[in-house]
Assembly symmetry: C2
Homo-oligomer: 271 residues x 2
């Protein structure tokens, strides 16, 4: 089985692919667009895309791509992001003067790096920073990336878990051509548009509230070509198999201008 | 009067400052953080920050900064973003082979640039691309930026309004130390958090729906340190001067874990 992800070998997304799918063949892609294209063109059977980080928020581009393409969400996975300070074999932490990584990883380790008293330099990718470090051969430079990136490039982990905030999780969605219909303990993701009138969102949310359906996420995105009108993306607990979920969506379809189910899938079990 | 904005002289944000404030002294800042700091430290009396683009969506960093700092929103402005293809004096459109600008501007002119058959190259800033072009002296390269950027650097506009989608607006917020309380035709921006329980957002929105208060925007952002809990930012029509607005906020405060008014300000008149 081939699974597409965005980034280079050793990226956090690739780690998530192995955790979620097990021993599959990974297909690295340059951009999120390329990840979707890989599944659409059947070069990959599936893909795993990051949709939200607990510190940085939603990855809005992937919301837009879910709308644009006719793929289905079939699963979710939560990855605990644990950054490692990585040096060349034989490098010593106390000699490090410069640290390179993706700007978001540098930002998530800002206090640690200030205490270390090093110069920081943003580069395009976390795993890519390890690759760059390896080819530079500089023993006073370190990279920040995943444990796996250090292994792949046969580099040395100088310190693990250097992120300032341990509550650093990324939520991934598994997507493929064919939808599934899960049993109990499921989540469903939908997108809809509403008439631009007073109380519209309140009425839309009533279809869930009246049936005690628990929303886990709401996200709004601009509707292209209609300034200050929005698409709403909602995740809620429940499967399309359950009658009260179907009733809620029937009721919403009556009221929404557009409604699409992006997928119904087993909820990730955090324990 | 001094007004801070993010970017270089000639940036779209600077154009918005002149449109909104009239003839003031502008203070260019490298980052949005620096814009807020400029007002906090009283180097500037006010600032104008972009909060939302009709094509690209919200500028989430500015939502986070509004929460972190104790400044008040006192006005809003809508700028129609009109991109210009800019060359050196004497350059000809048919000779252009390469176009440089901020990735977002390049993206918003993608169809136009494809038809022109040129190579595109991303740089850090729109106005900055004009400055770079000027110092390079290359007559076969063009930049994409505002009309004003072309004037400032005494360059030539090869074509105006080259954006693929004319519905390209950026909404700006004016911020300062002291709040104002506007009369009729106002907007109010708030931020709040809720208990993580079924129906929570529905109940929160009921305080507006029951009083026919029109929401114009809802945005969610991650609550730091509490994965999968959210801050909600809402804009609605009405002034703090109006009794039904005060009742709605009283009612919401009863129910919300945290509630803060970011500002009540005159609504921008689009006509």
């Amino acid at each position: 089985m081939k699974v597409a992800f965005q980034g280079e070998a050793g990226a956090y997304s690739e780690q998530a692919v192995f955790d979620y799918f097990g021993n599959v063949e990974t297909v690295p892609c340059e951009s999120f667009d390329a990840v979707f294209d890989s599944v659409i063109s059947e070069k990959s059977e599936s893909a795993l895309i990051p949709i939200e980080n607990s510190l940085a928020g939603s990855i809005h581009q992937n919301y837009d791509l879910l709308l644009r393409h006719d793929l289905h969400i079939v699963g979710e996975y939560l990855l605990r992001v644990r950054h490692c300070l990585i040096g060349l074999p034989g490098a010593k932490k106390e000699n490090i003067q410069r640290v390179i990584s993706h700007p978001q990883a540098l930002g998530q380790c800002a206090s640690y790096l200030r205490a270390l008293g090093v110069k920081v330099e943003p580069v395009y990718d976390t795993a890519g920073s390890v690759k760059m470090l390896k080819s530079s051969g500089e023993t006073t430079t370190a990279a920040i990336a995943s444990h796996r990136a250090a292994e792949i490039y046969q580099m040395q982990i100088l310190q693990e878990g250097i992120e300032d905030n341990p509550e650093n999780y990324t939520r991934f969605l598994a997507i493929q051509h064919e939808p599934i219909v899960p049993d109990a303990n499921a989540k469903t993701s939908i997108v809809f548009t509403l008439k631009n009138q007073s109380g519209a969102l309140f009425k839309a949310l009533s279809v869930f509230a009246l049936r005690d359906i628990d929303l886990t996420k709401i996200e709004s995105r601009p509707l292209q070509g209609k300034p200050w009108e929005y698409l709403f993306y909602i995740d809620f607990l429940g499967s399309l198999k359950e009658p009260h979920v179907n009733k809620a969506l029937d009721h919403l379809a009556e009221y929404a201008l557009m409604l699409r189910v992006l997928g119904s899938y087993p909820r990730f079990n955090e324990s």
